[in-house]
């Protein structure tokens, strides 16, 4: 998961064998979890409405596979776009913040505001201003994912090692040079860390945004589907949808990891 920061960059570390082991381990845990779940349902004789058995959930998933696929795809798209926007915007804000301590201190409380404001509470306002659009869902989701990026990247940009600071001063680096040559590379591991957190938040954000935004017929993500199923107390289908949302989270999380390994590896090495 987080080994890039500590492991030597041996090309054979991530061998196929190891990946196979990982997959096996994950499946083993899943198997244990599913059996445990089933036992709980059976032992306590829980009604389906409260907690369906894994098998019932699987059936529901199969029955609603097209809906899950379609809406899952839409939600994934919302989450991905939002994460991307959050990285860009958050990175930009952080760069601004890194340029002036005063600016940072003056504006940081307002970034905390974005983080603290319950999206559930401002979603209606967003809808009023921006309408029942994909755009609105993205804005809401970006608000949710922004803070981890800003917090981490700002910290990264202001964590330049003192020896590098000296170097920059010696050679009269301009702000811009300082930023590109040292600050941004220093911030990369922090960005990756933040983007990982945001990748999960993006999925949850997209779903919550959809609770509010996708009432219209033309835009129907997992969140909208889940609201409907909840109203009909279709607990089994609801749980299938939850499983899909987790899958989306893992996809985004894995994507962030993969991209960072492919393109940012050299910045992740601690020497």
């Amino acid at each position: 998961m987080s080994d890039e920061l500590s492991d030597n960059p041996g090309p054979t570390r991530e061998s196929g064998r190891e990946i196979a082991w990982t997959v096996l381990a994950v499946i083993a845990v899943a198997a244990i979890g599913i059996v445990g779940w089933h036992l709980i349902v059976v032992l306590f004789d829980l009604p389906k409405l409260l907690l369906p058995t894994p098998w019932q959930v699987a059936e529901a998933a199969w029955q609603h596979r097209m809906v899950l696929l379609d809406s899952g795809w839409i939600t994934l798209w919302t989450a991905t776009v939002s994460l991307f926007v959050a990285v860009i915007v958050g990175g930009g804000v952080s760069v601004l913040f890194s340029q002036s301590r005063l600016l940072r201190r003056a504006l940081f409380p307002y970034v905390v505001f974005l983080q603290t404001v319950p999206i559930v509470a401002i979603a209606p306002l967003l809808v009023i201003w921006s309408g029942y659009e994909f755009r609105t869902a993205v804005i809401a989701t970006v608000i949710i994912c922004l803070f981890p990026i800003v917090n981490n990247v700002t910290t990264g940009l202001t964590s330049v090692r003192s020896e590098h600071e000296d170097l920059l001063r010696m050679y009269g680096a301009t702000r811009w040079q300082r930023l590109c040559r040292v600050q941004l590379p220093t911030a990369v591991p922090f960005l990756v860390l933040g983007a990982r957190i945001s990748s999960g938040l993006a999925v949850i954000g997209a779903i919550v945004a959809e609770f509010f935004v996708s009432n219209g017929a033309d835009y129907e993500g997992l969140g909208a589907v889940m609201t409907g199923w909840q109203a009909r107390t279709m607990t089994d289908a609801l749980m299938a949808a939850l499983a899909v949302s987790t899958l989306l989270g893992l996809i985004l999380f894995g994507g962030v990891n993969l991209l960072s390994r492919l393109f940012l590896k050299r910045y992740l090495l601690v020497n």
Binding site: Q99, S100, R101, L102, R104, R105, E163, H164, E165, D166, L167, L168, R169, M170, Y171, G172, A173, T174, Q177, R181, V182, P185, V188, R266, Y267, L269, V270, N271
Partner: protein, 300 residues
């Protein structure tokens, strides 16, 4: 703050008056240092570990704010007590702001191109040797910045000078300790600086390389007549590479010795001459005397 009265004489490169540095912990690393370095002079600083050599070098470079006294550098900024929080983004006192501006402007203009070989290599871990060495060429606001190919060529030449050509594409974590220091030396030399500050540059190197690089330095000096301040533990090295030797002890300059051998061309047999032996002994004795208990008492 650059009051006219502070102007340096034409021939003076550095002038410290009562320069004092007390670190936050309470350690007095520099204790009322008075020092002047002439343009084009080669000065060596020797002294026991922890006596303040690195601190003095950083003060001269403008990296270390003073807690007392003044230190001026020709074409550079003025360090004085009060300009304490140089790395802070928020400066509240007007005088501080000005001091800082003067400093950074000076850094930008680089009216005197300065290079510093730090005691630790301080390479950028995400850049290979070539990129690290190219760095100083690509920084600053110089109008006449060389093209990318020129920069690359100059960097490769500097890398060749420190015999790292084979490792030019390696990253710092793939280098040995000595190789890192050599990359750091190449980075300092690549700009052909007019002012060179060297903090134990050769400590991690073998004698052969040390001599070769020493010769390289002298050769560059004959061409460019840069001003240089060299910190070293190696008295022989100090004698071979400098015109004047300042002996430090516990934050003070306890002795300044003019080097009688400085004009000679460096040749390997220099060390075997009797003048060398005599002067070596003098420096050595000064150092030991400074460290002896009674002297220590006078500094404590």
């Amino acid at each position: 703050m650059n009051a006219p009265s502070d102007k340096l004489d034409a021939g003076t490169a550095v002038l410290c008056r009562d320069a004092t540095v007390t670190y936050p912990g309470g350690v007095c690393a520099l204790d009322r240092i008075n020092l002047s370095v002439r343009q084009g002079e080669r000065l060596a600083l020797v002294g026991p570990s922890g006596c303040g050599k690195t601190t003095l070098l950083r003060v001269i470079a403008g990296l270390q704010p003073l807690t007392g006294g003044v230190c001026q550098r020709s074409g550079g900024g003025t360090q004085r007590s009060g300009g304490a929080s140089q790395r802070s983004g928020v400066v509240t006192q007007r005088s501080k702001v000005e001091t800082q501006r003067a400093d950074s402007r000076a850094g930008d203009r680089r009216s005197v191109a300065t290079s510093f070989v730090f005691q630790q290599p301080a390479l950028l871990p995400w850049a290979n040797v070539l990129k690290n060495v190219t760095l100083p060429l690509s920084l600053g606001r110089r109008r006449d910045r060389p093209s990318a190919t020129e920069m690359r060529e100059q960097a490769l030449a500097a890398i060749h000078e420190v015999q790292l050509t084979d490792a030019a594409k390696r990253f710092p974590h793939q280098l040995s300790g000595g190789m890192k220091m050599r990359a750091s030396i190449a980075r300092a030399l690549v700009t052909r600086p007019e002012f060179l500050l060297l903090d134990e540059p050769f400590a991690a190197l073998d004698d052969l390389l040390r001599n070769q690089l020493g010769r390289l330095l002298l050769q560059l000096w004959r061409h460019h007549r840069f001003t240089s301040v060299l910190v070293t533990h190696n008295i022989a090295e100090a004698i071979q590479l400098s015109e004047r030797i300042c002996v430090m002890h516990q934050g003070r300059i306890v002795s300044e010795l003019d080097n009688p051998l400085s004009t000679s061309d460096p040749h390997d047999d220099l060390r075997r001459t009797s003048e060398f032996g005599v002067f070596f002994g003098r420096v050595s004795d000064t150092l030991e005397k400074a460290a002896s208990p009674d002297m220590e008492g006078s500094f404590a």
